[in-house]
């Protein structure tokens, strides 16, 4: 396969960057939801927003 290095680098960024971002978002959500009373997290109680 030609250009294998470029391919791996491109896909690594393509999956890695959103992946890291997703982890960051999930962690922030977890931290915040620990500090906000459950009755004010409305889509968690009702299931959807």
């Amino acid at each position: 396969m030609s250009h294998l290095g470029y391919l791996i680098a491109g896909w690594a960024f393509g999956i890695g960057v959103p992946g890291i971002y997703a982890i960051f978002v999930l962690r922030r959500g977890r931290k915040l939801s620990a500090e906000v009373p459950v009755e004010r997290q409305r889509w968690i109680s009702s299931g959807e927003e």
Binding site: S2, Y6, L7, W11, F13, P18
Partner: protein, 265 residues
């Protein structure tokens, strides 16, 4: 009155998830390996680009959804100014953040693809490259504005106006870059000329679908985080006011009302 924080359950990592996000997450867990499989194994290599074409299965969908994301930000900004609703403000913010990530990714993957194909990491004369770069920078500014400590409504209004201006500016930038060099290395949309093999086309659609799901999944989570963040901020204001009043020995209904109204809404 003291604010009681509900204790968080041990190991509740997915605080912003729900049945819908779990379903989308499940689709992604299946879809991403499938996409990689199709992109690297099943799809044929291109006659001119050879295997570099396999980068486009991620580059093009990411680029499409970065524009979609900024479009949603613009819609959210307009609706915010119209309805003053926090829902739209949170949507605009969430979408802008994802849009910045996606447009950065568009630039990075495009650059990596450009090196073997055009023999350059960057081409100043290319309309789409430069437009995407300026758009990226504009929304980085938008996010910076959102970071600034200010009253939530004021910040939301300013951000909405910046979001709308940013979007209005995209076609102007595009036009100016197009005239500037009047050259593009980007091929005309190869989807329309009908010379693509079935598998290439399918992989492309699969990539767009997967990226769409990823955008939706990120959006829902980021929206919820944004909502929690503003609730948290409102709680902070309420708590600070209560503290002051407790210090002064005043116990009024205002504080609790203040908190219930949530300061924003």
């Amino acid at each position: 009155m003291k604010i009681k924080f509900k204790e968080v359950k041990e190991g509740r990592f997915n605080a912003t998830s729900s049945r819908s996000t779990r379903f989308l997450g499940f689709c992604l867990a299946l879809g991403i390996p499938t996409l990689i499989l199709f992109a690297f194994v099943f799809s044929p290599k291109d006659d001119t680009m050879e295997d570099a074409v396999r980068l486009l299965y991620i580059h093009v969908p990411v680029a499409i959804f970065s524009y979609v994301a900024f479009g949603i930000t613009a819609i959210g900004s307009i609706c915010y100014l119209w309805k003053q609703s926090r829902w739209w403000d949170t949507t605009a913010h969430a979408s802008a953040e994802i849009g910045v990530i996606f447009s950065a990714l568009t630039l990075i993957t495009g650059s990596i693809w450009g090196r073997p194909t055009w023999n350059t990491w960057w081409e100043w004369g290319d309309v789409r490259l430069v437009t995407t770069l300026v758009m990226f920078l504009m929304f980085v500014g938008y996010l910076a504005l959102r970071q600034v400590p200010a009253q939530p409504q004021i910040r939301a209004k300013r951000a909405a106006i910046v979001g709308i201006i940013g979007t209005i500016n995209i076609p102007i930038v595009n036009r100016s870059v197009e005239w500037w060099e009047n050259s593009t290395l980007h091929q005309q949309s190869s989807l329309t000329d009908g010379n693509l093999e079935d598998l290439t086309l399918f992989t492309w659609f699969l990539g767009t679908l997967i990226l769409g799901i990823a955008y939706l999944w990120l959006m829902i989570h980021r929206f919820r985080v944004g909502w929690l963040a503003s609730e948290h901020e409102a709680l902070g204001y309420g708590a600070a006011i209560e503290e002051r009043q407790a210090e002064a020995g005043i116990q009024t209904a205002i504080a609790s009302e203040y908190r219930e109204e949530g300061e924003i809404e």
